[in-house]
Symmetry: C2
Subunit: 207 residues, 2 copies
């Protein structure tokens, strides 16, 4: 069985960067936005719309933009479930293909049969605000606007996760390790996890 | 400033073993039961009674056994606070003395000015039951009795912690890293943390 690492994260905590660095350090495949693109391809919904379902707003709250002229009936009537079903299929295919690091998208739950190392990344609000400013220096938002945006995205992530998994998003009991990037630098956290994975991996026997 | 690592833990999760291994790997002082003994010495309460206040039952629920014939008035009227005050003083003295690993006893909060690496160790109930059986093979308890005991100890730890810190015990936002020992072996977790601490420590400049 391939080695799978799933990264769940609070918005602005640096979970995505941690995942990317970890994949690089281990030489694993890295899946993040590629998942959204592949879901869009298969469900025939636009990348923008899929991303909105996954990250920003509940389904049905704004018009569907389709990527092609043909729209599946299921996608019209239940786009959130269509997206979730495509997501399950794609994630499992990715995990079957090779060792990988997957960021977000309920991957810790969907890939549970692969016994992933499931990581949750979080940080204090002030740290997340500073990180958002650093990543998007051109965006002019007040601290209050940033806090509102961060809380909204997390709220929707939690809602989406809880709807499909019946688990509480961010509850440490569902993860193997939770890392606070206000205290532990993202680079150091990635190096630490990479060393752990290397030291505990059984070398594959070539057949 | 000395390097301080605090280990908070659910009962039966292996947090104590993790702390001991970590201290050994780093060559740090290790404080655990020594704290109870020192509190007993200074407060003139018995070790057994101090331990009961810290771990098992609310104060005032059973008679005080003193270690000496002289009993301080404060210890009679408010043993829990007497224990807490002694605990604060002792922990700070220990942290000022050398690099150290401290297990339990609200150390993450009491030593916050030392900016410790604060670790929370937890595990699934089944794992904790198995660990309890392994550690005390002669004790004959049913699973139900063990679950009741584990829950009771954790309940009291939470109550004690929350009373003195106004923080929720086990809430990941108060810790730098949370480790699930159902998934990550205690030895591996200790090695991982030791490597992290070594890699991020600034060598001391001798004067």
């Amino acid at each position: 069985m391939n080695k799978v690492i799933t990264i769940s994260r609070e918005f602005g905590s640096g979970g995505r960067e941690l995942g990317r660095r970890l994949a690089e350090a281990l030489g694993f495949a890295y899946y993040d936005r590629e998942i959204v693109e592949e879901i869009a391809n298969r469900s025939e919904l636009s990348v923008h719309y899929v991303n909105d379902i996954l990250e920003h707003r509940p389904a049905f709250s704004f018009p569907i933009h389709t990527g092609t002229s043909f729209v599946m009936t299921e996608a019209i009537w239940n786009p959130t479930q269509t997206v979730y079903m495509a997501q399950c299929q794609i994630l499992k295919e990715m995990a079957e293909k090779s060792d990988c690091v997957v960021v977000g998208r309920c991957s810790d739950y969907i890939l549970r049969e692969f016994e992933p190392l499931s990581v949750f990344v979080y940080a204090r609000m002030q740290h997340r605000i500073e990180r958002c400013r650093e990543k998007r220096p051109d965006e002019e938002r007040t601290d209050r606007q940033l806090v509102r945006m961060i809380k909204n995205i997390d709220k929707h992530r939690a809602k989406y996760y809880e709807f499909f998994t019946a688990r509480k998003w961010g509850d440490k009991s569902h993860y193997d390790i939770c890392i606070n990037t206000s205290a532990i630098d993202v680079k150091d956290a990635a190096a630490m996890l990479a060393d752990y994975v290397k030291s505990t991996s059984t070398p594959k026997i070539s057949t």
